[in-house]
């Protein structure tokens, strides 16, 4: 009844955590154990989106990918799921994901602290939507705060990425 280990998919491998700390957050696990520091901690209460990651879950023979705030989710909730962090979007040859390239080209990233969270929210949008109009984009990033860009450049970057990255996303 009391679970002693949890298993989830990370970097296409099954990861097992024995005797998981029930209080540990997914964010702390990603940064301190998996040593992936692309995912940031901002407000620590699910309000700023800097910690956004994407979790895949099997539902009726289909994997549903959803953005979540990793700072307010327990590592133990990853049981049986697929964890995707910003580092996973880079292709094997080192090239960037279309939405990452567009963010650079359209100055959608300035200080950069919020950028990984935006990228993951947008990646989740791509996984769940079929068209990307301005309203869809704005809603998708409604949980992400950026204090540098004023958001316009980010929305423009995504619109361009949606256009140019067709089939690549």
């Amino acid at each position: 009844m009391v679970s002693n280990s949890i298993r989830f998919i990370f970097e296409n491998k099954i990861k097992e955590i024995k005797n998981p700390d029930p209080n540990e957050t997914i964010l702390n696990h990603i940064r301190l154990e998996l040593k992936k520091t692309g995912t940031k901690e901002g407000c620590a209460e699910g309000g700023c989106g800097a910690c956004t990651v994407v979790v895949g879950e099997l539902k009726k023979d289909k994997i549903i990918y959803k953005a979540i705030n990793s700072c307010i989710a327990f590592t133990t909730s990853l049981e049986g799921k697929h964890l995707l962090v910003v580092e996973d979007l880079t292709q094997k040859n080192g090239s960037l994901h279309p939405v990452q390239s567009a963010m650079i080209n359209f100055h959608g990233s300035q200080c950069g602290f919020c950028t990984p969270g935006f990228i993951m929210s947008l990646f989740s949008m791509y996984k769940n939507k079929t068209s990307y109009d301005k309203k869809t984009i704005e809603e998708s990033i409604s949980g992400n705060l950026c204090r540098c860009t004023g958001y316009n450049m980010i929305v423009k970057a995504v619109q361009r990425a949606a256009k140019e990255g067709e089939g690549l996303w």
Binding site: M1, V2, S3, D21, P22, N23, E24, T25, N28, E41, G42, C43, A44, E45, G46, G47, G49, T52, K66, A67, I68, N69, C71, I72, A73, F74, T76, S77, E79, G80, S121, S124, M125, E139, S140, S142, G143, N144
Partner: protein, 278 residues
Amino acid sequence: MVKHFIPSSLEEALKILHDHKVEIIAGGTDLMVQRRKWANTIPKFEQTMNIMHLSELSFIEAKNNKLHIGATTSLTDILEHKETPELLKKTIEDIASPALRNIATIAGNIGNASPAGDTLPILYVLNAKVVLQSMESKRTVPIDEVITGPRRTIIQADELIKEIIIPLEEFTSTTFVKVGGRKADAISKLSFAGAVSVEDNTIVDIRIAFGAVGPVVIRNKEIENTMIDMTADQINDKLDIILDAYSEIITPIDDQRSNKEYRKHVALNLLMDFLLDI
């Protein structure tokens, strides 16, 4: 020693509740924030039970003109369901970013019983009922009887919220307004929900609820009943009397998000807007 239970079925979850004193965690979006003080600190929990993965509690379906929402059904799943009342859909779109919607639950709003819980005024307006289950018993209680004060409910230590039942009714118009620092993810300064049905120019049903302006959601059926059978013109004539009646029962507090004068003023303005729009 921290104990963490991960039951594999609803039955097991109820047994754990029966045998141990545990805190139930579904999405955890509210509890995690309550327990965490600062970045990089670990939330403080003892004896918790996670139920978010229990598929028996994750469902949403309409039966006999009632919508049944399982305790661990995420706001995303509720938003995407075709039978979900428009008022509830609009509310979910207004109160949470996709990342929060993906793990937040309505049952969590009820269990936490925060006066600022954003889905609560909607549940009051829609006459929702809450199914509470323990090993020995199951009871269905109207939402306004479940919540008794700020963070206080009638839910017993061995009970969990199994589902929420919302009657599916048609209204002439509905409204939800959240007043907060930001649309997504900010905790409300106050909120307002209203639903009205008009036939032959007279009001046949009117329901009004306020969030975060009192210890619990404010809904007063006596005042609502005084408006039944009125026409829009009569509402206009009686506006001051109605506003005065609500002014008596709206009792907000000062806190870091807002103050009582602002809350009351805005709450009454939102009410006035709603009544003048009928």
